[in-house]
């Protein structure tokens, strides 16, 4: 049965030199993107980064200023929204309040003049799939947020679109329900094999669901990669800072011994990144700094180790700091550390590894060179 | 209204200018001795016609009926007043315009409904608008309104006013003071002021109707007021006019009038 819900031809989107301006201000800047058939792709970025504009251009609600959008070999660029073989799940669901649940789901099939009997069958199927069959005769106003979202999903999927667009569909749900829906949605996508393009500003949501994440900022793609790639090997300091918690420290390149950099931070800490590790700019294909350059150093909070200080550290990749605050986040304990007068950094330790630390004297903060990432960019 | 105690008697000693009043317009049937009222303005009803459409001589209400059913059919307007409309048919038949005789009113209704109404285009409060907006050729009208309409015309030859025979309404607007009026002294003073020769002339010049004081016609002649013959009907016209009465047949007249309006609209 699930075969009938799968598209005959998979949706493969190709976006070339896409550009969009609103009143002279560019929202999407000359963007290229290939979306594979049947993948779960997240467009992730802060609000105003252009992710929703990109989605709306794929849906046909906005017309690009320049560029091409192709689905397989079909040019969608100037095709009106109602002719595109894509469907959308809207942020506020946008269910028709004057129709029942079943009528909402049947709406798309009626537009394509599907025979009445088939409409009944497919609506039944789609509602059963999202477990809203019992609510067929209710009006959307009588449903909870989560239920409305399932109906919105059924309404879009019943048309067997090549590509399903989801515009922050979870933002109105509470956290627990959201996490459950994430799992359900991911499983549904796997089973149906439809291309899902999911817009979100919530990095955890993106990390949890995506096959690939497109990190966007300022109308441009910052990085495309799997959840692990964008987390462990951010392409630039924006991605490094946007995905997960991050400590940034400014430092100056003191020496460069054949790719082995020696850095000195503003508070005189010596930092030795491991050459050829993930964070090494040369190895990651990022611009390499010269001696004397100011760079941004990123170290994840969970890679820091804390212990009681036995004196001023003489080794590199260590510094003394004072605990300014402790918070229990369930599975981890988070420390806010103060180095010198005004440098604040975060440390996260699994709860099971946390040891009692003095809050009135200095603690030693250590890290490994392999966990240090160096960025030359300003972001 | 006086019978119902709604008016207070006028104190003539407070209105010395009452002596300026023309005796033609004092001592009327509804208020002998001017106990309650003094004439404010007076006029009469007739009709005005477009001389390019209606070329024959026009003099009587019968002429009006004939023209309305003839060359001015569909371009005739009547006054929006039951008494005046009924007077067309009663006048044409030579009856008393104030008649309460059922048979005569029935006959009047028949003439109005069956003969006149189907040819009537509109019913107006004042004819001047209908003259100015054009499209009409025969309008029942008060003399002053007709004059106003004619004064606004580019072509003075186009329109002609008739004081129809055998009779028409002599109507009078009156001053009176309501019972319980808070400042009767001021009211008396106002009436007195309005009756002074100078003010009376100004008023006549403005509204286009004489106010019933003596010597007004001579004054108008001196000042060169336009179309004076439409303000001051000749004595022979005055002699044949009938003052309208509000009598028990008023309800019947409203009924006739409403039916005529409906018939015109059908």
């Amino acid at each position: 049965m699930s075969a009938t819900l799968s598209p005959a031809i998979a949706g493969e989107l190709s976006i070339r030199s896409l550009h969009k301006e609103f009143g002279g201000v560019a929202a999407i800047k000359d963007l290229d993107l290939d979306i594979r058939a049947g993948e779960f792709l997240c467009l992730l970025g802060p609000s105003g980064c252009g992710k929703t504009t990109l989605l709306r251009m794929i849906a046909g609600f906005e017309e690009p200023t320049a560029g091409v959008i192709e689905l397989g070999s079909t040019d969608l660029t100037r095709m009106p929204a109602h002719k595109r073989p894509v469907n959308t799940v809207f942020q506020a669901y946008a269910l028709f309040p004057h129709m029942t649940v079943a009528e909402n789901v049947a709406y798309g099939l009626k537009q394509s003049r599907t025979p009445k009997k088939e409409i009944g069958q497919r609506v039944d199927e789609a509602l059963t799939m999202v477990r809203m069959r019992e609510f067929a005769d209710r009006s959307p106003g009588q449903l909870s947020g989560g239920q409305q979202q399932r109906v919105a999903l059924a309404r879009a999927l019943v048309n067997r679109p090549k590509v399903l667009l989801l515009d922050e569909p979870m933002s109105a749900l509470d956290r627990k329900l959201r996490e459950e829906m994430q799992v359900e949605l991911k499983l549904l996508q796997k089973r149906l094999g439809i291309t899902f393009i999911f817009v979100t500003h919530d990095q955890e949501e993106a990390l949890a669901m995506s096959d690939r994440i497109v990190v966007m900022y300022d109308g441009c793609i910052q990085q495309i990669g799997s959840a692990e790639e964008v987390y462990t090997r951010p392409a630039n300091s924006f991605v490094a800072g946007f995905i997960g918690k991050q400590n940034f420290v400014e430092a100056v390149v003191v020496s460069d011994d054949g790719g082995a950099l020696r850095l000195r931070s503003v508070n005189n800490t010596t930092i030795l990144p491991e050459p050829n590790a993930a964070g090494d700019p040369g190895a990651a294909g990022r611009p390499v700094p010269s001696v004397g350059d100011t760079v941004r150093v990123a170290i994840r909070p969970e890679t820091l180790r804390l212990r009681v200080a036995a004196g001023v550290p003489s080794a590199p990749n260590a510094v003394l700091g004072r605990i300014a605050g402790v918070s229990f986040l369930g599975d981890v304990v988070q420390y806010v550390l103060l180095i010198g007068e005004d440098t604040e950094i975060l440390s996260r330790v699994p709860r099971s590894d946390a040891v009692p630390l003095p809050t009135d004297e200095d603690v030693l903060i250590e890290w490994d060179g392999v966990d240090v990432a160096v960025y030359c960019d300003e972001a | 209204m006086a019978e119902h105690g709604l008016l207070q008697p006028l104190q003539k000693d407070l209105i010395p200018n009452f002596s300026n009043m023309d005796p033609n317009f004092t001592d009327q049937v509804w208020d002998p001795g001017n106990i309650y009222t003094i004439c404010k303005a007076w006029g009469t009803t007739g009709y005005v016609y477009d001389t390019y459409t209606i070329t024959r001589p026009m003099a009587s209400w019968q002429d009006f009926l004939d023209a309305a059913m003839g060359e001015a059919s569909g371009r005739t307007a009547l006054l929006e007043d039951p008494w005046e409309v009924c007077s067309i048919a009663l006048g044409a038949a030579g009856e008393d315009l104030n008649t309460t005789d059922e048979e005569k009113l029935d006959a009047c209704e028949q003439v109005l409904l069956d003969n006149l109404a189907p040819h009537v285009r509109a019913y107006f409060g004042a004819a001047s608008t209908g003259m100015v907006q054009g499209g009409l050729a025969l309008l029942q009208s008060y003399n002053g309104d007709a004059r106003q309409g004619m004064l606004e015309m580019d072509d003075p030859e186009q329109w002609k006013f008739v004081y129809p025979t055998p009779s028409a309404n002599l109507w009078m607007d009156n001053w009176a003071i309501a019972t319980g009026a808070p400042h009767p002294d001021a009211a008396h003073a106002l009436i007195n002021h309005m009756l002074s020769p100078e003010v009376a002339f100004e008023q006549m010049d403005y509204i286009g109707y004489p106010v019933g004081t003596k010597g007004l016609e001579e004054r108008a002649e001196e000042e060169g007021v336009e179309l004076p013959e439409l303000i001051f009907p000749a004595q022979d016209v005055l002699d044949r006019l009938t003052p309208s009465e509000m009598n028990e047949a008023q309800q019947r007249r409203v009924e006739i009038f409403s039916s005529a309006q409906a018939r015109s609209g059908a």
């Binding site: 269910l95 039944d124 609510f135 239920q147 | 499209g135 309800q251």
Partner: protein, 335 residues
């Protein structure tokens, strides 16, 4: 004291201004008119007397004159309401959907500007426009569309034009509000699901604007039926409306009893038209709903559906998340 006052009035205390207004400016005057309608006119100088109550005035009302004028009035107000609707729907749609929000204020103001002018003056303006010697007449003759001067002033057609002009804003405003409040998202959803502009309009925008259509039609139809200014100014004899007959009874005949009876009959007739129209609309709506109904297969969840349902993440704990969902699935395959 206050609490006793509140106790006496109950929860309606807060809406005191509203119901006081309704009582003094609506209920009481209407009651008074109804009361007068059972009286009579005793003599020529008295407007009404209540010494003998009877239905006699109602028998006088239902005369051929009244009925013919009433039919004409009804025709003018029905045609007028429909014309307002036909003009206002595209305009309101354009204003709510096509015009950028920044410019809507100005356009709405333009719709309302005529309302700042006195009703009578506005209507008198149309006398000049529709006059046989007026500029419209001359322009139409000038371009050869008309062989003789425009012969429309003082006719039913002139009243029709006048009332459409006078009442159009009352139709546009509620329609605009209704179409605007439906929001762009539902129209986008409709387009997304494959409906073109016209289908979206007839299946989403217009149905959602139904409350606006209803209030617009009532706001136009009811006062239009009772209007007598437009008819007096533009109508002439064949544009006579029922309001003029009522006014005649109060002003010329000074017969408040008969005038009141006419007013009551007018109200009842107007109400009857509204009720009949509403019933018709309900029937039409039910028919549309029936024709467009979605019939789900009755053998619920049998056969292939079970397979689909079985694919769902039963163990994910999702069902516990929403009691309403899990509670109602007990009859289904998940149970």
């Amino acid at each position: 004291m206050t609490s006793r006052f509140r106790k006496f009035l109950g929860d309606s205390a807060l809406s005191f201004p509203t119901w006081a207004y309704m009582l003094f400016f609506f209920a009481l005057p209407v009651a008074l008119v109804m009361w007068y309608s059972f009286g009579f006119k005793p003599d020529q100088f008295t407007t009404h007397s209540m010494e003998q109550l009877s239905l006699g005035r109602y028998r006088e009302v239902v005369s051929p004159t009244f009925l013919s004028v009433f039919t004409a009035t009804l025709r003018i107000s029905i045609v007028g309401t429909l014309a307002c609707l036909v003009i206002a729907v595209p305009f309101a749609y354009w204003l709510a959907v096509k015009v950028p929000p920044g410019r809507r204020g100005l356009l709405l103001a333009l719709v309302l500007v005529p309302f700042w002018t006195n009703f009578l003056v506005r209507t008198l303006g149309w006398q000049i426009i529709l006059s046989p010697d007026g500029f419209v007449s001359e322009a139409l003759q000038g371009i050869g569309l008309l062989g003789s001067p425009l012969d429309i002033l003082y006719s039913r057609a002139a009243v029709q034009i006048g009332v459409i002009y006078n009442y159009l804003p009352l139709m546009i405003l509620p329609l605009f509000v209704a179409m605007d409040s439906a929001g762009v998202q539902l129209r986008e959803a409709s387009a997304d699901l494959g409906a073109g502009k016209w289908r979206t309009f007839f299946q989403v925008t217009l149905p959602l604007a139904t409350p606006g259509v209803i209030s617009g039609c009532l706001l136009v139809f009811i006062p239009l039926t009772g209007d007598y200014i437009t008819a007096s100014v533009l109508g002439g004899a064949n544009g006579t409306m029922i309001g003029q007959l009522v006014a005649n009874q109060f002003q010329n005949a000074q017969n408040w009893a008969l005038g009141s009876a006419m007013a009551v009959v007018l109200m009842l007739f107007t109400l009857a038209v509204v009720v009949i129209t509403a019933l018709l609309a309900l029937v039409v709506k039910a028919v549309i709903k029936y024709v467009g109904r979605v019939e789900l297969p009755t053998g619920q969840h049998a056969g292939p559906d079970a397979g689909t349902a079985a694919d769902l993440p039963e163990g994910s704990g999702v069902r516990q998340a929403e009691p309403a969902v899990s509670g109602t699935t007990t009859g289904g395959p998940h149970a």
